[in-house]
């Protein structure tokens, strides 16, 4: 075990930190620390421009292989990038779905033609993606997809019909990847296809979902014979589940350390407030703040273990499997702690009619953390069944 980064990695750290200090100024100063979870609806145009600024500096898609326009950065360097980015207050990445999901999927499963057509726009920060997975009846049971894909021989196009939901930033995206049923007689994870669609077409309607925060980051997306070309399916009809699941494994947690920097900023805000209003003298609050500190440290060490790879058993890393349940629960508790530190002031909004303060937004938005991306209940099933080899849930 070795905690220290190599001199080369520390040099890389300085390079990105210096670049951010030079570029996250002027027109971009206003979006520092903005656009993160709970704030993703803010400043979309400025954040798209920022993606192009990043791309010009060679700071998009750094983990991609050089052959596809990336830097082929090591895991350590990707970690460092995310840490420094968050430390500098880099805005929420408009390009993250394309960079972390679409790109690696096409690199792993796509055709040469798909890579040539889609990767440069992601790399350049000019084309933005959203993810069409969940449906009204395919939430935790993601394989229960009803959206249909039919190949129209006359036009030589795929026609997609159905509804997706919880699609982040669909209204700001140029493309969407969609899993849809190619075999109408199939059920579950068989008979699905993975499609690449342009969002700008008459067959697609985006409707924002108003959240309990009063804001809208998520959307419903309706497909009424939306189309894509014969070459816009990744893999073969029937491979959709394999591609979709492969995609979930790509990120490997390199961005988790950046996420933790955002959490640290929130905890620092709470500590500052507790010192200011005297809550820091309350022994119960002291215990809870210290507990939050312990949890955040553990998240970091846990990520370090995951990123270092667990040579004990390559594919199934227990510390990686607990991560979602751990951070989401921690973050939800942090929201409650924030309100308790604020006391009666916690009720008062930042501005009428319903503009929430940052900590109010944390309190409310963190209720989503334990639901999206696999609810805490689904996470516990996954841990019990895959890590502890306990019997699987019966399926209907």
């Amino acid at each position: 075990m070795e905690l220290k980064f190599s001199p080369e990695d520390e040099h890389f750290r300085k390079e990105i930190a210096d670049w951010l200090a030079e570029h996250l100024v002027g027109e971009f100063a206003a979006i520092r620390f903005r656009g993160g979870p709970g704030d993703e609806h803010m400043y979309p145009e400025e954040r798209k421009a920022w993606e192009q600024e990043l791309a010009a500096g060679g700071w998009t898609c750094i983990g991609w292989p050089e052959a596809f326009g990336g830097r082929g950065a090591s895991i350590e360097q990707q970690v460092i990038f995310h840490e420094e980015y968050a430390r500098a207050g880099g805005p929420g990445r408009m390009g993250h779905i394309g960079e972390t999901l679409t790109g690696p999927t096409l690199i792993a499963f796509g055709s040469d033609e798909q890579r040539e057509r889609f990767l440069p726009g992601i790399r350049a920060g000019t084309r933005f993606w959203c993810q069409g997975y969940s449906e009204p009846s395919a939430g935790s049971d993601l394989a229960n997809v009803k959206t249909k894909a039919v190949f129209d021989e006359a036009s030589q196009r795929w026609l997609i019909s159905g509804q997706k939901v919880w699609t982040s930033l669909a209204h700001e995206s140029d493309h969407c990847f969609v899993i849809a049923r190619t075999d109408p007689d199939s059920v579950g994870h068989r008979g699905l296809g993975f499609f690449l669609l342009d969002m700008d077409q008459p067959g697609i309607t985006v409707r924002p979902i108003e959240q309990m925060t009063g804001t809208s980051e998520f959307n419903e997306v309706f497909f009424d014979e939306a189309h894509c070309g014969a070459g816009d399916i990744v893999g073969a009809p029937g491979d959709g589940w394999k591609v979709a699941m492969g995609l979930l494994g790509f990120e490997r947690g390199v961005s988790t350390l950046g996420q933790q920097m955002l959490f640290q900023n929130e905890l620092d805000d709470i500590i500052r407030e507790a010192k200011r209003n005297g809550a820091a003298k309350d022994p119960v609050i002291r215990q809870r703040i210290a507990d939050a500190h312990v949890g955040l440290k553990i998240m970091r060490y846990n990520s370090m273990r995951t990123l270092s790879g667990n040579a004990d058993d390559g594919s199934l890393q227990p510390e990686a499997m607990i991560y979602k349940l751990y951070w989401s629960t921690w973050h939800r508790n942090l929201g409650k702690l924030a309100m308790d530190v604020l006391g009666p002031e916690a009720e008062i909004c930042a501005a009428p009619p319903y503009e929430l303060s940052r900590l109010q937004s944390l309190f409310l938005f963190s209720r989503a953390d334990t639901i999206y991306g696999g609810t805490n209940q689904v996470q516990r099933n996954i841990i019990a069944e895959r890590a502890l080899n306990m019997p699987r849930e019966p399926r209907g």
Partner: protein, 372 residues
Amino acid sequence: MNFSFTDEQRMIRDTAEAFLSGASPSEAVRSAMETESGFDATVWKQVCEELYWQAIHIPEQYGGLGLGYVELAATMEQMGRFLFCAPFFSSVCLATNALLVAGDDEQKARLLARLIAGETATLAHHAPAAVRWKAEGDQFRLNGTARYVVDGHTADWVIVAAAASGDDGNVSLFVVPGGQPGLVRHWLPTMDQTRKQAELVFENVLVDTGQRLAAGAAAALASVEDLATIALAAEQVGGAQQSLDSTIAYTRERVQFGRTVASFQAVKHKAADMMVKVEAARSASYYAACIAQEFLAGSASTGELAEAASVAKAACSEAYLFNAGCGIQLHGGVGFTWEYDIQLFFKRAKSSETLLGNASLHRERLAALLLD
């Protein structure tokens, strides 16, 4: 940055696991815990002569193996899994660390050699102000009572933290042979029978100048306690893991309503929570072990050591007690019997939580760093 075991560290862990599965099965634990000494002297001799664990992190210049704290923690984790009853924690994690941190070169050379030779020792550190020292010519006179001394009744010698008469903050560490005139040692029967404690009464005990490890030793003692805390946290991880593993094994065999208990979602979710606890605790424990290693090598500060120790002890104490407690619950009625081992882990979890400060104490230490 590489936060995973090296091949050598993995080998050391596997060796410990293999040895302890043979040397510390349930029957061995139960027979050791029923004795007053609390350990099997022939097994300890075997450990010292064949495995050399007593010398694991003693630098080679003093005749030790010169391995790191990560290796020590990996070994402790396995001891925790098997509830190994031995004077390892007292001799290695307490006394050896006290010598390494507070001893001068001559004392290290002399006393570490005796530990390497298989002598046992401990540290009486719980309340320095309860034992008082006074200089008398070229000797020191000790009076007072030290309680909660791990293996205090069996250790060949004791390092005692004592405060100067009338000056609570002026702490010194003294090495006192177990048979020193004026020292009376009582075994204190404990709820957790797998870790023995004693009360040591010092009545006009005289020690020579060379037996004082360090004067003005309050800060050094704090670092020694932090090092021991980090080792104990690793042991807690092992206990938490075994509490989970034995519970899963039981629920996979136990059948009710025509299906294994392990197939009920309520049971699976509790087991998942147990795994989250132990993996989180393990991450904190490994990190703290790395910091302890850096501290002993001179590249981490006392502040970093203290913070890492508190993060680890808070997390590991809670994880172990949670897992052992859930373990009893998921075992159902048999979990409450003397016959099943989960009760032994539950008791060890509680005694380990209290030893060197419980989770609340360590959180308050962190709160003071963050808020004051």
